[in-house]
Symmetry: C2
DNA sequence: TTGTAGGCGTTATCAT
DNA sequence: ATGATAACGCCTACAA
């Protein structure tokens, strides 16, 4: 009952009647020892219930077979999907995920990064482009390869896998403009602490500006990401600056909040109000009407980040920037504005997935 | 540029003009060295950008300051919340989360557990009561404290923090019975690979049996957890065994799927169909009508598991079983069945949160 | 208060 | 093919 002490390699070696070195080799590389010896060692190990001591191995090999990830709230469904995919991908390669999360707090992110480096993470996954300068510097100094995810680093200084939130945002805004909308409101995420949210908002402004339309400040509200906040924000916009015919949500939960508020108020979607989101969470496609949005392949981003990191650790080199597709998904929440002029044809001509 | 090699404690000691031991103590416990020495060491460490080597420390102290968690799909919002809360709680105590996930596959869970043990996890969090026998045995043999979460272990053999899914399920079923429902259908989770799903389904059967009602097999469908599957399952039930006035979802996404399908078919909720879920995800309260469900405090479960593990690692002992509250949340998706007899009073008398 | 030295469990470099 | 043995970087009695 009382487990005196876990067996170590020396115990296995003794039980198998070989030296420490041979036992180590037998376990590490079948080709290095005679078949008979190997079997003896394996049996002894199984018999004793031997479990290698990772820290000792890490100390000797200077590799922990561990990848660190520092994510904003992992309970955001979009990050949860990426986390899962990343962990799964690493597992098949014998790597394990060291996970830290923070609430869009860059100091916490730095602290978490330090903690993961200290734990010996062989590689690191971060979200977004904006960080404390020390964060990336520390990583670089420690010689730890890292991948920035979600966004794309146009400076070419960092490895990254993601998409241009700005241009995706331009695309979805153009979709509304093509439908004939001119009066548009935005429920943005927290642009001060989230570069994705900022890029998305900038994209809206760009697209509007390209057609000579200004986005008045009163038509923009910034909130944290959640359905409830989306509802409240939509209500606030209606109060503060009515007259818009379309709302752009900074992400799907915000857009869904707007949709629910419309339903509660009896505002017809899309006849009286068009709504678009960003991310394409599962629910977006299940609602009726379905939410028009940009699909962000979050699981693929997580997997790809893992794949690239493992490749780099194996000495292979990968292109510095990996752009993920972010298609516009047109569903039922968008249509021509009420009292729209003649034929709002463009909308119909678009395929469902652009 | 070329980072020759990361500085180690010996470098710090040399720079500070003290011995290795003193440097170690200065960093570990302020009270152990003279204030002046301490400052010298700290300065030297900062100057050199010293980062302690976790593996070496773990080897020496036999503690990794790491907690392992093996979760079913972390992208299920309910697990995502727990993961986040757990990671956050551990972080403030200087611990880090080692995360592995699997798709309700117990062999994968065992493999993941082994991987985490090998990585030196000081403690471990698992989900549910059902595991490969080796999983818990290995943990016990290695002397690693663990917490089973979500469910409650009535055998008293394991530390656990969760709730009785069976009795919660009985409560919500009784709520339907009290409203006058007699013809009930169930969209259950995968009972073969998920003890929570099984307990919930059993709870429904128990509650019905207590009133002399049988649940015919054709009124039960088992599917994986997702909104889309909930929709499809509801449609299938309607086809296969119509005539029921209430559906019980194995979790909220399933119930929401049923709700959406009702909306698509023009079935009035709750007038023609009552719907209940389980978990109380954020969306449940935002829909109109709001979803009647059981609130599972997932973030609290994650945090509590962390708290208990840290306490045990610190030598404090904790009660073996921690029961979390799982209140019935009555919202708009439940009401008396159509053509119900006289007064379906019980419903009205219940407070919103029982 | 500070220094010396042995040990934590593996891997890797030599020989043999 | 296998066996000694020296790292790996840190902690912690024990001594001074």
């Amino acid at each position: 009952m009382a487990s005196v002490r876990s067996p170590r390699l020396a115990d296995v070696a003794r039980a198998a009647g070989v030296s420490l070195a041979t036992a180590s080799r037998a376990l590490a590389d079948p080709a290095l020892v005679r078949e008979r010896t190997r079997k003896g060692v394996l049996d002894a190990a199984a018999m004793l219930g031997y479990v290698p001591h990772g820290a000792a191995r890490a100390l000797a090999t200077r590799r922990s077979r561990t990848i660190g990830a520092v994510f904003p709230p992992v309970d955001n469904p979009i990050f949860a999907g990426a986390t899962h995919a990343l962990a799964q991908h690493l597992a098949v390669a014998g790597y394990t995920l060291l996970l830290a999360s923070h609430d869009y707090d860059y100091d916490a992110e730095l602290a978490a990064t330090r903690a993961l480096i200290e734990r010996g993470a062989d590689g690191m996954v971060l979200v977004g482009l904006v960080h404390r300068p020390e964060t990336l510097a520390t990583l670089a100094r420690a010689g730890i390869p890292y991948e920035l995810t979600w966004s794309l680093d146009c400076t070419g200084r960092h490895h990254c896998v993601g998409l241009s939130h700005r241009s995706a945002s331009i695309r979805i805004t153009q979709h509304l403009l093509d439908l004939g909308h001119r009066e548009i409101a935005v429920i943005a995420g927290d642009t001060a602490h989230n570069d994705r949210a900022r890029e998305r908002l900038d994209g809206v402004r760009d697209a509007l500006a390209a057609r000579g339309i200004r986005l008045p400040a009163r038509r923009v509200v910034e909130v944290g990401f959640s359905v409830a906040r989306g509802r409240a924000a939509f209500a606030a916009l209606l109060e503060r600056a009515p007259g818009f015919t379309a709302v752009i949500g900074g992400n799907d939960p915000l857009a869904i909040g707007a949709l629910l508020e419309c339903r509660a108020r009896g505002i017809a979607v899309p006849d009286a109000m068009s709504i678009v989101g960003f991310d394409d969470i599962e629910l977006a496609g299940e609602l009726a009407p379905g939410l028009t949005t940009i699909r962000v392949p979050s699981a693929e981003i997580g997997r790809e980040a893992g794949r690239r990191l493992l490749a780099r650790l194996a000495g292979r080199s990968v292109p510095k920037v990996k752009t993920m597709p972010a298609p516009l998904i047109v569903r039922g929440t968008t249509g021509p504005p009420p009292h729209a002029g003649a034929k709002p044809a463009p909308a119909r001509r678009r395929p469902a997935v652009v």
